[in-house]
């Protein structure tokens, strides 16, 4: 899925995530890119919320990282791809982290599973000590 995402259209944008306001920048840019890719209505808010969740995870667990936004086209269908990556401590047990209500921080534990539900495709790769990469996509309906 990641390779596929790499073949994105011309539009690509990188948002470094280092402080709280960067989370807001990332979701605003994500919303803008989704509009460019022809998405509309509630999908825009769903994408913005999903970006917000993964960006916050970067700040909470890794301290800093980045969000890459890309436009996609597959079989004439357009969409956006969001890649969130960091070089933090990583996730030991991904299936556990993907469970609703599980959190090693003091949160609701809805970030990752919630983001997955908000998007169409969702993939998470992590190696302990090396960081986390979340790749997610949303397609135009």
């Amino acid at each position: 899925m990641v390779d596929e995402a790499r073949e994105g259209l011309e539009g690509e944008l990188l948002v470094p995530i280092e402080r709280d306001p960067d989370v807001v920048t990332a979701r605003q840019k994500g919303r803008e890119m989704a509009v460019e890719a022809g998405l509309s209505g509630s999908d825009l808010t769903l994408i913005a919320t999903a970006i917000s969740e993964v960006a916050r995870n970067i700040l909470v667990y890794a301290g800093h990282g980045e969000i890459i936004l890309r436009q996609l086209e597959r079989n004439g269908r357009r969409g956006v791809c969001v890649i969130a990556r960091d070089e933090g401590p990583g996730i030991q047990d991904i299936p556990l982290a993907m469970q609703d209500g599980y959190s090693t921080g003091r949160s609701l534990g809805l970030g990752l599973p919630g983001a997955k539900r908000l998007m169409d495709d969702f993939e998470i790769v992590s190696e302990v000590g090396k960081g986390v990469t979340v790749t997610m996509m949303k397609w135009r309906r």
Binding site: E18, R19, D20, P21, V23, V24, R27, G41, S42, L44, T45, L46, A48, T49, S52, E53, R56, G63, H64, G65, E66, R85, D86, E87, D100, S107, L108, L110, G111, P113, G114, R117, L118
Partner: protein, 318 residues
């Protein structure tokens, strides 16, 4: 301010490997370049002092750079770091430690408020000094000298990119501080009737603002002895799970202080994304719009709004 400065510096210092890799790619640094630079190492190390002098000698001409020259200890640090820089520049390793060294020097420039244009001028003087030496190394073989210089220029631009980022990060810090000042003014709590408050929230709701909002609201509840608060979020475009959690906790805290919170104006999109996220909103007392929220609040407080007959005083026509 000093803390913020230290924080920005720490973020930059803590450079990620992929960021370094990307910086190398941006300037197209190839193994051949590193090999070419290796051929120059000894010669450049032999002229280290002259190159360092090219940089500081340039700056010394300008009174604008006095921030650096008036602080002896910082100037000494800068000279030492610049020396180390040149040694590393021909050292062949351009990984994370190299970038971190550059960031340290950039942070020093930022501390003495070195003008970006002056920095560029001094860096240009430094590279000219090095390139002149490179060209002199291969007399009669211009192309060779040119190729070597080109390879070294890639490192020069690699360095400039890092220094720029540090200097810009410092300026962004000022903007961030101003934004915070604006935010503090942006979440008012207003009393509409005895024991009834409204809190309109407009714009971006991030965690910082959510915290501020909690504090403001709880203080206002105490100060006004409020029983009901209508929190209107019509102007909020995105609510993620962290902010939702914060709002729920605020509502619970308000409850402990004896005030009920009614949330109004949740947009269809925000409602949908919160449900998809899986946030438990059963404890949320939500009413569609602000008007409905005020009506509900008045009902809870036992007010009854009665429409009186409109009386227009008729004056006899003269």
């Amino acid at each position: 301010m000093a803390d913020d400065y230290a924080r920005a510096e720490r973020h930059l210092r803590d450079v990620a490997e992929y960021d370094v890799e990307r910086r190398r790619r941006y300037v197209d640094l190839q193994p051949i370049d590193i090999a070419q630079i290796g051929e120059l190492r000894e010669a450049i190390l032999n002229h280290l002092d002259a190159h360092v002098e090219a940089f500081f000698g340039y700056l010394a001409q300008y009174p604008e750079a006095s921030g650096l020259f008036s602080r002896r200890n910082l100037l000494e640090d800068a000279r030492r770091l610049k020396r180390e820089h040149l040694i590393a520049m021909v050292g062949g390793e351009y990984g994370r430690p190299y970038v971190e060294q550059r960031v340290a020097l950039g942070a020093l420039y930022s501390k003495v408020r070195l003008d970006i244009r002056l920095f560029l001028g001094a860096f240009q003087a430094l590279s000219r000094s090095i390139v002149n030496q490179i060209m002199a190394l291969s007399p009669g073989d211009g192309p060779k000298g040119f190729q070597r210089s080109e390879s070294l220029m890639k490192i020069v631009f690699f360095d400039i990119g890092i220094i720029m980022d540090v200097l810009i990060a410092d300026r962004e810090q000022t903007i961030t501080l101003q934004q915070e000042a604006i935010r503090e003014l942006s979440t008012p709590t207003l009393q509409v009737r005895d024991r009834l408050l409204i809190m309109p929230i407009i714009g971006v709701l991030d965690t910082h603002r959510a915290r501020q909002l909690t504090e403001g609201l709880l203080n206002a509840i105490r100060a006004n002895r409020a029983k009901v608060v209508v929190m209107d979020v019509t102007g909020v475009a995105t609510v993620d799970s962290k902010v939702a959690n914060h709002l729920l906790q605020t509502i619970a805290a308000a409850g402990l202080m004896g005030a009920e919170v009614i949330v109004t104006g949740l947009s269809a999109e925000v409602a949908q994304s919160l449900v998809t996220l899986g946030v438990d909103l059963t404890k949320l007392n939500a009413v569609g719009d602000l008007q409905g929220g005020l009506e509900e609040a008045e009902r809870l407080l036992g007010y009854e709004v009665v429409k009186t007959r409109v009386q227009v005083a008729r004056r006899p026509l003269d």
